[in-house]
Amino acid sequence: MNIDQELLQKIAHLARLEMPESAEKEMKESLESVLNWMSELDEIDTSNVKPLTHMSLEINALREDKVIPNISREQGLKNAPKQDGEYFRVPKVME
């Protein structure tokens, strides 16, 4: 698998991860090496195999829909890097 700069930046954007030029080469190489290794899975014919999508044996986990005490606003905001006592604050989205 060859990862060119465009694909690398595209994945980084999807992952919302900054990818400065200085980090590109190392990331490209390590992605390619792991992806090549993952491609060994192609050696197995799986045309008649269904993907395993659920590991839990539980069918339905039902519980009563009741109101329980949740964390307070103050508690909810306590770890925020920036907040105004009511909301999380982020840079302006619209002019």
């Binding site: 919302r16 197995i44 195999v49 590991m55 539980e58 925020a80 840079p91």
Partner: protein, 472 residues
């Protein structure tokens, strides 16, 4: 103070009045003070709290109201949340994070009078096999010079190994409890997938993650599992299966049918002493009257590529919650919302975590989803069916926990694939969701511990623990 290996011995002395919980906590705190600077097992120590709690439990013992875990001094991996205490998943992205709630597993041990002594070092988000991927620096093995602890629950293992606490709660996504337990000469138990509630466990790969104990004895692993396992309204994935009395080890002598993974035991990459110790254990099992047979596992080569395809995919999704908005690190360089996300995440995550997020995003992206992600899900089914089938014929599947004993610091960091291969024998249990335990199995020529792994069928922890106890 005498060095204890089991809760039972501690409780005998506590109830005889020859020691107190305060003395126990002071003993562990002294060891932490003396050794933690070098070993780096604990990231925070809750000294005052632990001492206060010790006095409270000493009073309860006098009053006859103490519960099951009175006298157990426990550490918790940095992936478990504990209300009003820092939890950082070994990462800078969670700088300053103090949890608003307590993980169910942690709450359950506290409710049984365990004393939580501190938060333990680990690979960032559990992504690593040596504890070298922690933002807080590696945790060192207490045996040997400059040897790794194993990972990702490295701090949790070393803390027990170096008598900084009696036991730890770790987490196991691909071997993260069993591998460091093996490297440190301890018992590490990964329960059946969904046996233990994961409420309050910072998620890495949700179809793999399990909480499990690291202890000095099989008995203590059983005591802890009995308490942390079972239904929880906060986790809809947890199993409703009844929790048996794991501590009631079956005493009647039974012989078992045991399969050992031929490819694992005969693998060229196996360190000679590990191979010798494993073969000796198999000979011992035969001598004890158990039936021991080699089993072929042709899919072994595909365990790790399957594991990494699926876990990186799940990690890329789980770790999207770290965005610099609600908690943790926020970049000061951001100019708009998009750059706030991107810069905060780049600065906050370590190299290995960034790489796994990128890999996971790639295998889940529209053009590659079927070729990588769906393909791995299909092979996961093949591995699971093959393993489940074997376990209808055999009571247990055994192999060494790791191909070698603990590496030297930095020995594996240059080649990621070599690093990943260290998990070869442990990942199977996570890929298929089955319980497995690592027990000590002697030392190599340098005195480094060797681990022996036993895997059982789903929800057969009672049999697994009985057998582990029997052959320890």
């Amino acid at each position: 103070m005498k060095v204890y290996s089991t809760l039972k011995d501690i409780q005998t002395d506590l109830y005889a009045g020859s020691i107190t919980c305060r003395q126990l906590v002071e003993f562990y705190l002294k060891n932490i003070e003396e050794k933690n600077n070098t070993l780096n097992a604990f990231l925070s120590v809750f000294d005052q709290e632990a001492l206060e709690k010790a006095d409270e439990i000493d009073a309860k013992i006098k009053a006859g109201t103490a519960k099951k875990l009175a006298g157990m001094v426990l550490g918790i991996k940095d992936l478990l949340c504990y209300k009003d205490h820092t939890s950082q998943a070994g990462s800078r992205i969670l700088d300053g994070f103090e949890s608003q709630f307590t993980a169910t597993a942690v709450q359950r041990v506290i409710d049984e009078d365990a004393i939580i002594i501190g938060r333990q070092n680990c690979d960032e988000f559990g992504m690593g096999s040596t504890n070298e991927n922690s933002a807080f620096g590696p945790c060192l093995n207490a045996v040997g010079e400059n040897r790794v602890a194993g990972g990702s629950s490295g701090g949790s293992a070393v803390a027990v190994q170096a008598d900084m606490c009696l036991a730890s709660l770790g987490t196991d996504t691909g071997g993260s409890v069993r591998m460091p337990a093996g490297f440190c000469g301890l018992v590490g138990l990964k329960p059946t997938y969904t046996r233990v509630s994961r409420w309050g466990l910072i998620a890495y790969a949700s179809s793999f993650d399990c909480i499990g104990p690291i202890t000095k004895s099989v008995e203590d692993a059983a005591i802890l599992l009995e308490i942390i396992a079972g239904k929880d309204e906060q986790d809809s994935t947890v199993s409703n299966e009844k929790v048996p009395e794991y501590t009631a080890f079956q005493t009647e002598k039974k012989t078992y049918k045991i399969g050992y993974l031929k490819e694992a035991v005969e693998s060229e990459g196996l360190q000679p002493e590990v191979k010798a110790a494993t073969l000796a254990k198999l000979a011992y099992l035969k001598a004890q009257g158990h039936e021991v047979e080699a089993v072929d596992f042709p899919l072994i080569k595909y365990f790790l590529p399957t594991y990494y395809t699926l876990t990186t995919a799940e990690a890329s999704s789980n770790l999207s919650r770290f965005d610099g908005v609600r908690y943790g690190h926020r970049s000061t360089e951001a100019t708009d919302l998009m750059s706030l996300y991107k810069k905060s995440r780049f600065e906050g995550f370590g190299k290995e975590t960034r790489k796994r997020i990128m890999l996971g995003t790639f295998v889940l992206s529209a053009s590659y989803y079927d070729a990588y992600y769906t393909k791995a899900q299909k092979i996961r089914r093949l591995i699971k069916e093959f393993t489940d089938n074997l376990l209808t014929e055999y009571d247990f599947l055994v192999c060494p926990t790791t191909p070698t004993t603990a590496y030297k610091l930095g020995e594996k960091t240059a080649d990621p694939i070599q690093m990943y291969l260290g998990d070869l024998f442990t990942v199977q249990a996570n890929v298929v969701g089955l319980p497995a335990i690592s027990i000590p199995n002697g030392l190599d020529n340098d005195g480094m511990p060797i681990g022996f792994q036993i895997m059982a069928g789903a929800f057969e922890e009672a049999e697994l623990l009985t057998f582990a106890q029997l052959i320890s």
